[in-house]
Symmetry: C2
Subunit: 356 residues, 2 copies
DNA sequence: CTGAAAGCGCTTACAG
DNA sequence: CTGAAAGCGCTTACAG
């Protein structure tokens, strides 16, 4: 017995001056228990006397013990890594919010967040995701829009048995984690705002067809028209792709109409910025001669002139919820509400005005 | 022999339907060598006969062998994780480029990139970095501006003996990896452009004092004035902080002058956007009555009206170089050029015009 | 040029 | 409620 301890002490002939870095053995010795008990306490497992638990916790603090993640993963088969697979779009403020929200939950829960940007469309997307999931050893994945809308992605993750949390308004399997906000209702409110301002010819620029949000936003627009007994005119609706250029081009076609709209609702801010740019190029005053509204409330919307009327989503909270529910699932706790809805908020600024 | 084969076949009574996941032992058996030899081949170590190497590589392919990262880290003391510590700023396009550039190098080299946003100023920055470095087990760190400019950060990393690559124009220890572009020369060129357009009263909005780039850009402005025999007027210089609001406020003070400038050079695009906004609020035509130039060529600069004259940095390449040199260092190869300079490029758009 | 042994620091069964 | 043993899949010394 004595000799064991001796040899233990002799062992510490480290060549580096760096701090020793306590292991589970050091903590066990310090607390006078077995390493298994330390493991139980550190992992918050049950069946440890409170007194023992306190003793161990004290030693953990005294030695500044931090479990070795590699050893944990090797023996426990758990990597504690969550992947964030996203479209590498130009507009990054949405992703930045998603990232910060998810990280804020992952870090305190002891999970690392690993990012994987993808450039769409990508014919090899399945291979790329498969490789990422394998190489990075992710236990679960967060899928911000539009990744959760791509049929191949969700199907692949299901096949690989990797749990995921999708942020998208598109309906999902009731057992899968789905976070979204009420795009349809927000679009309805925004359209209604324009109607209440006297606009009747309201142009609409649709979003990218691969995004679940696009259909919802368009549906809200149509419902508002219907509610207010305004006939739906297909010629006032143009396809966009959520980027500046497509918004600008769609606006051009709308303004070329014999009877152009007095207001344009773009399905996101980037396209609304394109609309404002096009209006300015044509010498049209915004909002005097043309009202323009967007969607997303990007950082952009208060930097351009005039500041944009738009819709704000609680993206940080949505990402936090996505990460939290995913971690619950990974930890074997059934998520309380796999499908969670958040409220959007219409933000009225200067790019829309009553029709004179 | 025959029996061995037999038993091999019987072995495949796996209970899971998932693919077996080959280990180094499987590869060794398949190739008829020891695990040590497999290890040598996989890690590209010398002293293996070409014939043996080929045989092992074939088995690796046949079994789709991928080394277990956790086991590797546990035994080899190397995590193959690089941290990216950045300021969580609103303007994210710079960071997005940094991230994509670094990731493009890390992934093929077998390194993971772990992001750590920080909100500045942060009194606990040292603790936070220390904890990140420990928890995430980063081997090295990439420090995009302005993280490399904060004296505490570099000092802490040195103390922890964690190699880092700083992207900043500020001078560094010649042994440390430093990536930057020629901010001073670019600012000189931009100022010269305005001078050549006939401007004499050129306002300057300085960048955040904690960023190394700020001093360089200011120096370029002063040198251009001097070169062209224009007296330096302190009243035409205002302090900004790289954000929209400070750019707008500084522009307001400049325009309130008895003899306001005919052109304003802002040290980044965000402040230039603020300048344009302020000019518009005052009913000043840009560039007709006031020329405005920025710095950075953010995605923003072509979205606002008028499109911004600015300076483009090859950020993706700079980040790639930072990551590549850092990985060289981590792998024990001395970086070829620890201090590397890139060229910036002046991009002339519509926000600047000859003085009439 | 190649390999047998030890060990990295944990967790998972399994005892008691 | 607690612990002794085995083992996760590699790499690091060390032999030959």
């Amino acid at each position: 017995m004595e000799s064991l301890r001796e040899s233990g002490h002799k062992m510490k002939q480290k060549s580096k001056p760096a701090r020793p870095k306590a292991t589970i053995f050091d903590v066990a010795e310090h607390a006078g228990v077995s390493i298994k008990t330390v493991s139980r306490v550190v992992n918050k497992e049950p069946n440890v006397r409170q007194q023992t638990r306190d003793k161990v916790l004290e030693s953990v603090g005294a030695l500044r013990y931090q479990p070795n993640a590699a050893a944990r993963e090797l023996s426990g088969k758990r990597s504690r890594i969550i992947g964030l697979i996203y479209e590498n779009a130009e507009e990054f403020s949405y992703l930045n919010d998603v990232f910060n929200g998810a990280l804020g939950i992952c870090e305190p829960a002891g999970f690392s967040l690993l990012l994987r940007p993808l450039t769409l469309p990508d014919p090899d997307i399945a291979d790329r995701i498969r490789q990422f999931a394998t190489n990075a050893r992710v236990e679960g994945v967060v899928l911000p829009a539009p990744m959760g809308d791509l049929p191949g992605v969700a199907a692949l993750l299901r096949e690989m048995r990797i749990p995921f949390a999708a942020i998208t308004p598109r309906e999902a399997d009731p057992d899968e984690i789905n976070i979204h906000c009420n795009d349809e209702a927000a679009s309805f409110s925004l359209t209604e705002l324009l109607i209440e301002q006297g606009h009747r010819a309201i142009g609409f620029i649709k979003g990218h067809p691969d995004h679940g949000a696009s259909a919802k936003r368009f549906a809200g627009y149509r419902r508002a028209l219907k509610t207010h007994w305004i006939a739906y005119a297909p010629r006032l609706v143009r396809q966009g792709y959520f980027d500046f250029d497509s918004g600008r081009a769609a606006t051009g076609r709308l303004l070329d109409l014999a009877e152009p709209p007095s207001a344009i609702l773009a399905s996101n801010d980037d396209m609304a910025a394109g609309a404002i740019f096009e209006a300015r190029e044509r010498g049209l005053a915004v909002p005097g001669e043309l009202s323009i509204a967007g969607f997303d409330d990007t950082r952009f919307s208060t930097r351009i002139w005039p500041p944009l009327t738009t819709v704000r989503q609680p993206i940080i909270q949505m990402a936090q919820t996505a990460a939290a529910l995913l971690i619950d699932k990974l930890n074997g706790r059934a998520p309380a509400a796999p499908r969670t809805t958040f409220e959007c908020e219409v933000v009225i600024r200067d790019s829309t005005a009553p029709l004179c």
